[in-house]
Amino acid sequence: MKSHVWRPLYIVLGVIVLVMLAKAILVPKDFGIGERGYMYGWHRKGNEADWKAVKVKYKTMDYCKECHQDKYDDLRQSPHAAIQCENCHGPALDHPDDPPTLTIDRHRDLCIRCHARLPYNGSGRGAIRGITPETHHPEAECVLCHYPHNPKLEAKR
């Protein structure tokens, strides 16, 4: 084994030791095989908590009705009952602390998402009462005539 032929092997061993050292320093301690085995579960365990900690922005109707019971009741009686408040008003986030007010979007674009007429028989879209946005009072906001919280009560306007 005294032969010079083995010299390059020292370099190889050096490289291996270096990699091992780097591993010990760089790899997070909670990195390992998870419940789904090596193929599907090789990961840093702490990352699961990172994802769980993402902030919830859409708080759903239950959150809104705590203060806006009147609007909620209105909506519940209407064909729009299934539409979440936040679909049109934007995510609640920490409202009323932050932001103190939610923007009220009166734009036609919101309404024509469903009410632009597309006669598609294969989906529920065909059954929704619709308009042709280009010809149906293109200059006006829908809410001028229609009450969004309960479109049946159009007379209210």
């Binding site: 032969s3 010079h4 032929v5 010299r7 390059p8 020292y10 370099i11 190889v12 490289v15 990699v19 780097a22 591993k23 760089l26 790899v27 990195f31 090596y38 193929m39 090789w42």
Partner: protein, 417 residues
């Protein structure tokens, strides 16, 4: 701007998140590793199988392969969105991924090539270092060289006959191990593509084999071109020197040796070329014959959208034309070089047609994507994944080769290897 949006044009229906994510750098990656593997295989033909005629080009291609090595990694680093994390492939390798073993295979291969070079050059190191050591006064460059050689020798100063025989044996063994590793390194690049079941064009078990064959082809072709160009340069230099020192070898002597080596090498080029073309055609025929669900869209990509790139540039100019030219009688040096250049272009187009062609259609099979190569590097992203990034990768091996040959001269060595 979303990554990929700048150079992708969608037609008909593609999924909203689909872009050409693997671009020119991923074309360069198999092209460069192919050159590495090919150059190494060429040098091993002499070291392992004792093809004496290749002696002169063998050392050349070995050193060239070494110069190409770091460059095989460059396109990957330029491609990664988080290049600073690239080391993680060694830290937490996930071996179910075809990319995970890259670090290990690549390092193993690099170490093999480096040690082989060490054994080939050890005697030269010792001799040069001894001569330099005996010199009273050393210039700055000589001083640096002396230091470098002393480090490179790693204390193995013994250049007795037995020691040198051991060196030779080691070279032979390393070259022998090196061939499968080089093939693995590159077949493995083919596996990265061939194993993607989500991509209809890539998924074929033939991919690794096709990649190896075309790799050897391109490696040999590049060695021929570089070798000839270097020889031409040397001739020019020696012609100038001969005016002062008439005892140096004449241009004709240099030339006859050169023609012999190059034509011999071109025979091997031809052999691997036939293999590569056969496999590629087989793949194409098989796809057409079995006509799976994906064939409709593949056909319109292969025979319509990419017809020029596949059939004219790759098969026509890159394969068929050099094939015929190499077989015609009275092979001249110029013709071999011309053919080698065509072959290089053909292999590059093959990589392009695989990597970009595989993303030319949506995985919905209902739409197409077109890649517009970014030319002017307005942003870092456009540089990295554009023409200039690719040029940067293509030029580097020659710069490195020049640098390395300052320490490891590849010509006019009078040792036995």
């Amino acid at each position: 701007m979303v990554h990929g949006e700048a150079w992708t044009i969608k037609e008909f229906f593609c999924y909203p998140n689909e872009y050409i994510y693997w671009t020119i750098q991923i074309v360069m990656y198999p092209f460069m590793t192919g050159l590495v593997a090919g150059a190494f295989v060429l040098s091993s033909l002499y070291h392992v199988f004792g093809v004496k005629q290749l002696k002169e080009i063998a050392r050349f291609s070995l050193v060239f392969s070494f110069a190409l090595l770091p460059v095989a990694m460059m396109p990957l680093m330029l491609h990664l969105q988080q290049p600073q994390r690239g080391i993680e492939v060694m830290m937490t390798p996930h071996f179910t991924s075809a990319i995970a073993a890259f670090g290990i295979v690549f390092t193993t291969y690099a170490l093999i090539v480096a040690s082989e070079i060490w054994f080939v050059y050890r005697a030269y190191f010792v001799e040069t270092a001894t001569t330099l050591g005996e010199k009273r006064e050393r210039g700055l460059w000589e001083g640096i060289l002396y230091l470098i050689y002393r480090i490179l020798i790693m204390g193995a100063w013994d250049i007795s006959h037995e020691a040198r025989e051991k060196d030779e044996k080691a070279v032979k063994i390393l070259a022998g191990i090196g061939i499968p590793v080089a093939c693995f390194l590159h077949g493995y690049a083919g596996f990265i593509f061939g194993s993607v079941k989500a991509n209809a064009l890539w998924m074929t078990p033939l991919m690794p084999v096709i990649f190896i064959c075309s790799a050897v082809v391109s490696g040999i072709a590049l060695c021929i071109v570089t070798y000839t160009v270097t020889m031409e340069l040397r001739k020019m230099i020696s012609a100038r020197k001969r005016q002062q020192k008439p005892w140096l070898p004449s241009t004709d002597e240099l030339k006859s040796a050169e023609v012999q080596v190059v034509t011999m090498t071109s025979k091997y080029l031809l052999m691997f070329l036939v293999l590569a073309i056969t496999l590629e055609i087989l793949d194409l025929v098989f796809r057409g014959y079995t006509a799976l669900k994906s064939w409709d869209i593949l056909r319109s990509v292969i025979y319509d959208k990419d017809f020029f790139k596949i059939f004219v540039l790759q098969y026509g100019c890159g394969n068929a034309l050099p094939f015929v030219l190499l077989l015609l009688p009275r092979l001249s040096l110029k013709r071999v070089v011309f053919c080698s250049l065509l072959v290089l272009m053909g292999v590059f187009m093959m990589r392009w047609n695989v990597v970009i062609g595989g993303q030319a259609f949506s995985s919905s099979f209902a739409g197409f994507m077109e890649y517009r190569l970014p030319i002017w590097p307005e942003t870092m992203e456009l540089f990295k994944e554009g023409l200039f990034g690719a040029m940067f990768v293509a030029i580097t091996p020659f710069v490195l080769f020049f640098g390395i040959t300052r320490i490891l001269p590849v010509f006019n060595l009078k040792d036995s290897h």
